[in-house]
């Protein structure tokens, strides 16, 4: 069976990202999954267990300080060489900033088509995308080269399929041009134990209706009680209530969790662009006419500062 290359993404805090497990699950529809770890020395060994559990038949390890110390260009070079060598049936990456950037460079290097933000992929390479704030479903195919696809997190349910992969070390031969963009410093910011926003199964977001930065504690409390991530609307971010990295919507993150809770968010189209494909949507807003209610499976018209404490109390009782 032909190999399908899956480019692995991992974080310091949580190891292999959930989206990588989704990619391994998806890869099995097309061929034999080979996980590609691109990182600093020792990166692959730490991740191998999880990759094997989710069906990686082979692990390619490209480990080098050059990869760690630069932006994505050396990774794309390693991957392009690997694609030329093994002629895979498909190359799958996460639709994260980094995944898309590697894919973009790879598309140019190989003169190959590219499909991003894919939510589903058939065995024949037909990809499903959701466009225009979730309003349009598009089915596309790469027509030049192999299927080169980036998958939006939370699109596929990861399924374990234990395998016993061997590890193949890859040479990292970065060009001078690959080394032009250097990483000077990586700063990890304390985020506690909350899941990463785009990967979370539950997202609880606050909007302008939260009123001020201090009140965001209410949003965090509900998120923590539900085991979810915290998000914010652009209005809340622009008002300085919550940091930009948590912004959901057009110029922020796109999320597609099992449950999206919108608190004090009116639901402008730019916000809906980032959360419309959530499976279940719950909203609390004092304005009965807020457009968010058009999407909500369960909506509460009421005062957040009465509804939320009561809800928090009730969740505690039930736990």
């Amino acid at each position: 069976m032909a190999e399908v290359l899956v480019v692995v993404e991992a974080t310091q805090a949580f190891g292999v990202k959930k989206v990588t497990l989704e990619l391994l699950t998806l890869a099995r529809r097309i061929g034999s999954p080979s996980a590609v770890v691109l990182g600093g020395p020792g990166a692959a060994a730490e991740l191998a267990g999880k990759l094997a559990e989710y069906g990686a038949e082979k692990i390619y390890a490209a480990e080098s300080e050059e990869i760690d110390g630069h932006l994505v260009a050396p990774k794309a070079t390693v991957l392009a060489n690997l694609v030329r060598e093994v002629q895979p049936a498909a190359v799958l990456l996460a639709s994260t900033q980094e995944g898309k950037e590697i894919a973009g460079r790879l598309a140019v290097k190989l003169d190959n088509g590219l499909l991003t933000d894919v939510v589903d992929l058939d065995a024949d390479g037909t990809a499903t995308q959701v466009a225009f704030a979730g309003s349009t479903i598009v089915k596309s195919k790469v027509t030049r080269g192999l299927p080169l696809v980036t998958l939006r997190p939370n699109s596929v349910t990861p399924e374990p399929a234990p395998a016993t992969p061997g590890t193949v070390a890859l040479e990292v031969a970065a060009t001078e041009a690959d080394k032009l963009a250097k990483v000077v410093e990586r700063v990890a910011e304390q985020k506690g134990s909350r899941p990463e926003l785009t990967e979370a199964s539950i997202v609880v977001s606050g909007g302008r209706g939260i009123g001020n930065a201090d009140n965001f504690k209410l949003v965090e409390e509900i998120a923590d009680l539900l085991g979810g991530a915290v998000g914010a609307s652009r209005a809340a971010v622009d008002s300085g209530y919550y940091p930009h990295q948590f912004q959901v919507g057009q110029t922020g993150k796109t999320v597609s969790p099992q449950l999206y809770v919108a608190l004090g968010i009116s639901g402008a189209i730019q916000h809906r662009a980032g959360m419309q494909t959530s499976k279940t949507i719950v909203a609390v807003n004092k304005d009965a006419e807020a457009p968010i209610f058009e999407l909500a499976d369960f909506g509460v018209v009421g005062d957040l500062f009465k509804v939320l404490p009561q809800a928090a109390e009730e969740i505690r009782k039930r736990k």
């Binding site: 003169d111 032009l180 809800a311």
Partner: protein, 259 residues
């Protein structure tokens, strides 16, 4: 510093947008077309760098004739000149082909710094800065929320999932910016009047030495097989709080097995 800012005209993201049924492309004819919002931040950043370090700011747009409106709007903010790549054969170009054409145009402009928005509101693909950097053999610093220019040295701060990164490169380089980097200025009346007289040079594919079969539908590397409108979400239960809505909300979450 010679700065080129990439500007894309897109359908207004605040209104309904569609794909056409005849050729599966974005329906731009019936839409209210505007400057891609994130590109305005790139223009602002370019103008700030020019004000601090001197130089020239040129707008580069690839798009049909009507993109002229967006070019004039961009110029009204203060850039010096614009280049408009326009050719009927470009319709339907994929990202790979678009990067080829823009790289060819940039090849004629001798830019020290190429600035663009981190993504467009229509495609939201985010790959163009790296595709251009790959073709031009220059560095790409993407998603900058802060950019510092010191001579030929560029330092950017970019958001990551775990915090942020400080990244650096020497010019020439491509830098894409997020909307957290600055607050774009509004065009002044004087700026709007001046924009009408600023030079806008048009380039065709022949001018760039790119063949028509490498771009547009003919040269596309991916194709839309079919598209449909997603059925709108239907509203579910809506209750008005009469003192127990918090409890009812949790009851719903329990029913749906979230609690």
């Amino acid at each position: 510093m010679n700065i080129v800012v990439l500007v894309k005209q897109v359908p207004d993201s605040g209104a309904e947008r569609n794909l056409t049924s005849d050729d599966n492309t974005v329906d731009r004819g019936s839409a209210n077309n505007v400057i891609n919002e994130m590109d305005e931040y790139a223009i602002e950043e370019a103008l700030k760098i020019k004000e601090a370090h001197g130089g020239e700011v040129t707008i580069l747009t690839m798009g049909p004739d009507r993109a002229t409106e967006s070019i004039r709007k961009a110029l009204s903010m203060g850039p010096d000149a614009a280049v408009h790549v326009v050719d009927d054969a470009l319709a339907g170009s994929c990202a790979v082909a678009t990067s080829k054409v823009l790289a060819a145009a940039l090849g004629t402009l001798n830019a020290d710094l190429i600035l663009c928005g981190a993504e467009s509101t229509d495609g939201r693909v985010q790959v163009l800065p790296h595709m251009l950097a790959e073709r031009l053999g220059v560095a790409a610093l993407t998603g900058a929320r802060k950019l510092t220019v010191d001579g030929a040295s560029l330092t950017a701060e970019r958001q990551t999932e775990e915090g942020y990164e400080v990244v650096s490169a020497a010019t020439p380089a491509v830098v894409s910016v997020w909307d957290t980097i600055n607050e774009p200025r509004y065009p002044s009346f004087k700026g709007i009047m001046a924009a009408k007289k600023k030079p806008v040079r048009t380039l065709s594919l022949a001018d760039l030495g790119v063949s028509a079969d490498e771009v547009g539908f003919a040269g596309a590397t991916s194709a839309v097989v079919e598209h449909s409108k997603r059925p709108p979400r239907s509203a579910g239960t809506k209750i008005t709080d009469e003192g127990t809505a918090g409890t009812q909300l949790v009851e719903y979450l329990v029913t749906e097995k979230f609690v």
